[in-house]
């Protein structure tokens, strides 16, 4: 009985050391969204976003933001406390390059199960393939103030 307990204890500690080594070594970041980045002037970025909104808005608003249906390719999204704007309507199956720029503090974009950190003054570009139907979850994953939990963007695939 006593030797069984000792064997079990040794097994538990051995398993723990293996788990520990795995934890310390395993920082591959599988849940980090791959992204390109470039430095950008916030004013230029806003100009580009406004031009996109003017060219592709559908005439509706969602939660106070204009809904935009841009052609596949480059899409500009302004990020600030506590919104991602504009709201996007995407064509199913098409591929988009989301350019995200934070205008105030550090935020993040959690899209699906992966996430990218958004520091001010650096645009992050992530590739997004619109699903056949439904919403794509995009929300801030880095605490950024009392409105943080409501910082959820609107991306929807509409045929």
């Amino acid at each position: 009985m006593n030797s069984n307990a000792r064997a079990a204890a040794s097994a538990l500690l051995l398993a723990t050391i293996l788990l520990l080594a795995g934890w310390l070594a395993g920082r591959t970041g599988a849940d980090i969204l791959p992204a390109e980045s470039y430095a950008a002037n916030p004013i230029d970025f806003v100009t580009r976003t406004e031009a996109m909104i003017a060219a592709s808005q559908v005439g509706r608003t969602a939660e106070g933001m204009p809904v935009v249906r841009p052609p596949p390719g480059d899409v500009y999204v302004r990020v600030r406390r506590w919104e991602f704007s504009p709201a996007l309507e995407l064509a199913p199956g098409q591929t988009y390059r989301l350019h995200l720029l934070s205008e105030d503090v550090v935020h993040s974009a959690a899209i699906g199960d992966a996430e990218v950190l958004l520091e001010p003054n650096t645009v992050k570009v992530v590739t997004l393939k619109a699903p056949a139907t439904g919403r794509v979850r995009i929300q801030c994953g880095e605490y950024c103030g009392l409105g943080h939990t409501k910082m959820i963007g609107s991306i929807e695939a509409v045929p």
Binding site: M1, N2, N4, A5, R6, A8, A9, S10, L12, L13, A15, T16, I17, L19, L20, G22, W23, L24, G26, R27, G29, D31, I32, V105, V106, S108, A110, E115, V116, L117, T133, G134, R135, V136, R137, Q139, G141, E142, Y143, C144, G145, L146, H148, T149
Partner: protein, 459 residues
């Protein structure tokens, strides 16, 4: 025999006085936290809010202070009480304990001031939310140092033999706590000056906050050990295996500060995620092994549903297991309201409540008895937490992205209302259980002991 480890006679009067102080600080903090919860409810009630002396931002300040008292201070003061029980006898240990208790209590008083004085920017960052005011940070720091002083005297137990299960577990808890403090300190030192306050708060408490979850788990395991000794005369596992469970958690905590050297930028995403993985990789195994031992005890030995120790064991295991299962295997879809976290913490709370009523009070010469109030309290709190978690789970299921048009949308709204109603019902039951607990514990802590009453001829 382990069951004879802690008795009224084995704890010297100095230690008993210190321990009573820590338990009073722990339960008193819960009482203040409950009062704050009531006030913050009133501050959002029309008409009544005009009568309160606080401005519109009182709500978040009170919420932050409520969370810090009912999660941080309650668990850390409990660690202080455990340290008074387990520390090796000696003058230095007594002095450290007394000084620690004074600092621990002074810190709590300081951190209460900003909320009551209606000052400071509240921040609802993870783990340790803060009121952005000097006195709040100073209060947290003073409290933390107090608990640290009480904890360091336990470190010699880590290599002393023979190892006594519960005492060794508590010493592992002290080690985990000190590792969390080192993480807080390293983060503080590494975060660049001028970082936005919200991000600063989030990241300064991120790593250590995760390590504190290991401490909560360990406190639950120590409660299982002690309650099982009280109920069955021996722990749930053979001593060597139980000690290995405690040590396994402590190993992960002890290695955690390394992340500040290995895990990249303290403000980066890698750093954040490696601590998230700490809980996935490091936390589940030890409580799983010990929980199986507890489950075996509950099944194979006679079940006494009138005994507070038995109820605390059974309900804390069940609630903790439901929460742990939901978190680990179902992955819970909505990351923002992790329903499993409430259940897991609810399980820890039940274990610690049982520890206070069935182990600590008897050590102070008080008895919780087998009265109906004790049983009702455990059932209300335990089932309340389960109903609460179920409601959140339902609400989360409603939030899953899907096609919503016309009738579907109406059904969705109804579903949300029902699930939030379930959450509210669970909260109500749990709060009622919590209030009964605080009341029973405070009354017993403040009245003369059984022996004193017998002496003065009242009984």
């Amino acid at each position: 025999m382990p069951s004879a480890l802690w008795s009224l006679e084995s704890l010297p009067p100095v230690r008993r006085a210190e321990m009573r102080g820590w338990v009073l600080l722990a339960v008193g903090s819960l009482a203040v936290a409950g009062t704050l919860a009531l006030l913050l409810g009133l501050s959002r009630t029309p008409k009544v809010q005009d009568w309160l002396p606080w401005g519109p931002h009182f709500f978040y300040r009170a919420l932050v202070t409520h969370v810090v008292l009912s999660f941080e201070v309650w668990f850390l003061a409990a660690l202080g009480a455990l340290s008074a029980m387990a520390a090796p006898p000696g003058v230095w240990g007594d002095r450290l304990g007394r000084l620690g208790l004074v600092l621990g209590a002074a810190g709590v008083v300081l951190l209460l001031i900003p909320a009551l004085a209606d000052q400071g920017e509240p921040s609802l960052n993870n783990y340790v939310p803060v009121v952005g005011h000097k006195l709040f940070y100073v209060g947290l720091g003073v409290h933390a140092i107090g608990v640290a002083l009480a904890s360091v005297r336990l470190l010699p137990l880590l290599w002393r033999r023979p190892r006594v299960c519960a005492a060794y577990g508590i010493a592992c808890g002290a080690l985990i706590y000190l590792a969390a403090l080192i993480c807080f300190g390293l983060a503080w030192a590494l975060i660049p000056a001028g970082t936005d306050p919200d991000l600063f708060n989030e990241r300064v408490f991120w790593g250590g906050g995760h390590v504190l979850q290991l401490l909560n788990t360990l406190i639950l395991m120590v409660a299982w050990q002690s309650l099982s000794e009280r109920q069955y005369g021996s722990g749930p596992l053979p001593a060597a295996l139980a000690n290995a469970c405690f040590a396994a958690l402590a190993l992960f905590a002890a290695a955690s500060p390394l992340i500040y050297a290995l895990g990249g930028d303290v403000l980066g995403l890698d750093h954040r995620q490696i601590f998230t993985r700490l809980l996935w990789v490091g936390l589940p195994l030890p409580p799983l092994v010990m929980g199986l031992g507890v489950a075996w005890r509950l099944i194979s030995a006679p079940r006494d549903w009138r005994s507070p120790a038995f109820l605390a064991l059974a309900l804390s295991l069940f609630v903790f297991a439901v929460g742990g299962f939901a978190g680990f295997f179902l992955g819970v879809a909505d990351t923002r309201t992790p329903s499993h976290y409430h259940a897991v913490i609810g399980g820890v709370q039940l274990g610690l409540m049982g520890m206070v009523l069935a182990v600590m009070l008897p050590l102070l010469g008080q008895t919780a008895g087998q009265g109906r109030a004790v049983r009702v309290q455990f059932h209300l709190y335990g089932w309340g937490q389960l109903v609460h978690a179920l409601g959140f789970f339902l609400a989360g299921a409603a939030g899953v992205p899907r096609k919503t048009t016309g009738i579907d949308q109406g059904l969705d709204t109804l579903w949300k209302k029902v699930s939030m109603g379930v959450v509210g019902m669970g909260t109500g039951l749990a709060v009622l259980g919590g209030v009964i607990f605080v009341w029973m514990a405070l009354v017993r802590l403040l009245r003369p002991t059984v022996a004193q009453r017998a002496e003065s001829g009242h009984e």
